[in-house]
């Protein structure tokens, strides 16, 4: 089963404002030079939030399961990681 199908199982209320962002895209280029592809944030993410397209990181923040791994994995502390506002985002049934 693809991850995107797994994510359909989650109750999710989208925050219109993205809660994840890349601080400096140049650092992602540097990261690709040093670490190759996929970069650490892509490897650790359980929800395919990050993709490397045309030499830049594209963020599908609406897939995020709010685990925080990408922030920890980024060798350049280049991810601005916040929670979705007002409790938006995922809501688990089992947890």
């Amino acid at each position: 089963m693809r991850v995107e199908e797994k994510l359909y199982t989650l109750r999710y209320k989208k925050d219109e404002q993205p809660h994840l962002a890349i601080i400096d895209p140049n650092k992602c280029l540097k990261c690709e030079e040093v670490n190759g592809v996929p970069q650490p944030c892509i490897s650790v993410c359980p929800a395919n939030v990050y993709s490397w397209i045309n030499q830049r990181i594209v963020i599908s923040y609406e897939n995020c399961v709010e685990c925080g791994a990408c922030r920890i994995a980024c060798p350049y502390s280049n991810i601005s990681w916040k929670y979705p506002r007002y409790g938006l985002g995922i809501a688990l049934r089992y947890g």
């Binding site: 089963m1 991850v3 797994k6 994510l7 199982t9 989650l10 670490n35 190759g36 996929p38 650490p40 892509i42 490897s43 650790v44 993410c45 359980p46 929800a47 399961v65 709010e66 685990c67 925080g68 791994a69 922030r71 920890i72 994995a73 990681w81 916040k82 929670y83 506002r85 007002y86 409790g87 985002g89 995922i90 809501a91 688990l92 049934r93 089992y94 947890g95």
Partner: protein
């Protein structure tokens, strides 16, 4: 609005702090970012009932099933060992949404005020009180408990602790499959609806991982945790590892016909207090926020409750930081996690992990076949880890 104590996070640590402080007569506000307590929380589903009895009325604790056996499974190369440990009492499976809601409700009954869907963004000292900034406005308090979980953004912003690094974090993914109760009983051979089991799995391929299986009333949870640095080094995603684990253990057959009901992930901290501070001024940190998970037994809820109770008492009695941190260290659950860390650090090293899984497997297979020729004992390694394990030396 002004409170005696604001508690950030209505998980096991936060609700335990809130109920302790509220029972002591303090005016307590408990803030939770999720739509309800537990809705943002992920964990292993096995709890020790004794962990709750010091502060909660456990007669109404919402459990799923009583654990009758814990199965330990070791997988290396092609060898597989399974040991079933019979459990007399005290262990149960629980679902976090129900369990966390129950804890928060008991805190409310004791007088704490719970507000959900509210994320705390920062805590600042202003004179003798604290300004707690949220995405819905600000509140003030004399003391603050930060039980904000592993992604402790507020604690980090206030420079009380640093962030985790890939060296001391484990990434875990979990899937929950729903089935009806009778079908769960049939597939596991349970004789009663409240009978349950949980599995702990240690495997070495395709990468070293710790897996688990928990049985809920009407569902089966399966997951795997992998050291983050291994995922990065091997360029492999955590769900790829879980899919392999399911394949190797035949779990796809076990959940055949069941529908996937939930997919979640959580970072498990393998580092924290006392290497990190647990306090600043009258701000007290507890639970996952200071890395209180016992990775050897997969128990995070027990240490969270225990540290939350200490934080609740600290906030009630306005402890100085040195007193709070020494009271934390006096706590048995907290000490167990802290003392276990040097050994855990050794065991999550790929080489050591593989060695133990393979050696224990080879030993047990040797016993079965009366042939120990494959067993290679590294006595210095064994001795070092044994001494670390029983706490003779510290690292």
């Amino acid at each position: 609005m002004k409170f005696d104590i604001v508690v950030v996070g209505a998980g096991p640590a936060g609700s335990s702090a809130a109920i302790t402080a509220a029972k002591g007569g303090a005016k307590v506000l408990l803030l939770e970012r999720g739509p309800e307590p537990g809705s943002k929380n992920v964990s292993g589903a096995m709890i020790r009932l004794d962990d709750f009895s010091s502060v909660y009325d456990v007669s109404s604790i919402p459990i799923e099933r009583k654990v009758k056996n814990v199965d330990l499974i070791l997988l290396s190369d092609s060898n597989r060992t399974r040991i079933s440990v019979n459990v007399e009492s005290n262990l149960a499976t629980a679902a976090r949404l129900k369990l966390d809601k129950w804890m928060a409700q008991q805190a409310e009954k004791a007088g704490a005020i719970l507000i959900t869907k509210t994320t705390v963004l920062g805590v600042e000292r202003e004179g003798n009180e604290y300004k707690v900034e949220t995405d819905r406005g600000e509140v003030r308090a004399d003391r603050v408990v930060l039980a904000e979980g592993v992604n402790a953004l507020v604690s980090m912003k206030a420079n009380i602790r640093p962030d985790l690094t890939p060296d001391n974090a484990v990434q875990t993914v979990k899937e929950v499959y729903s089935l009806n109760k009778d079908e769960v009983n049939k597939r596991f051979g349970f004789k009663a609806d409240d009978e349950g089991v949980s599995w702990r799995i240690l495997g070495t391929d395709p990468v070293p991982y710790a897996g688990f299986l928990y049985v809920y009333k009407d569902a089966i949870a399966i997951g795997a945790g992998i050291p983050m640095k291994i995922l990065i080094k091997r360029k492999i995603t955590p769900y790829t590892v879980l899919d392999e684990v399911k394949e190797r253990l035949g779990l796809n057959d076990l959940v055949k016909g069941a529908s996937l009901r939930e997919y979640s992930a959580k970072v498990i901290p393998e580092y924290g207090f006392p290497s990190w501070k647990a306090c600043s001024g009258k701000v007290y940190l507890a639970g996952d926020a200071i890395g209180l998970v016992d990775p050897l037994t997969f128990n995070g809820i027990g240490p969270a409750v225990a540290s939350g109770v200490v934080a609740g008492k600290a906030s009630l009695e306005s402890y100085e930081c040195s007193k709070y941190e020494s009271e934390l260290m006096k706590n048995r659950e907290v000490r167990r996690v802290v003392n276990g860390r040097p050994l855990v650090k050794e065991l999550v090293e790929e080489e050591n992990f593989k060695y133990y899984v393979k050696t224990i497997n080879d030993l047990l297979h040797g016993w079965v076949y009366s042939d120990f020729s494959k067993v290679k004992l590294d006595t210095s390694k064994l001795l070092k880890h044994l001494l670390l394990g029983i706490g003779v030396f510290k690292s």
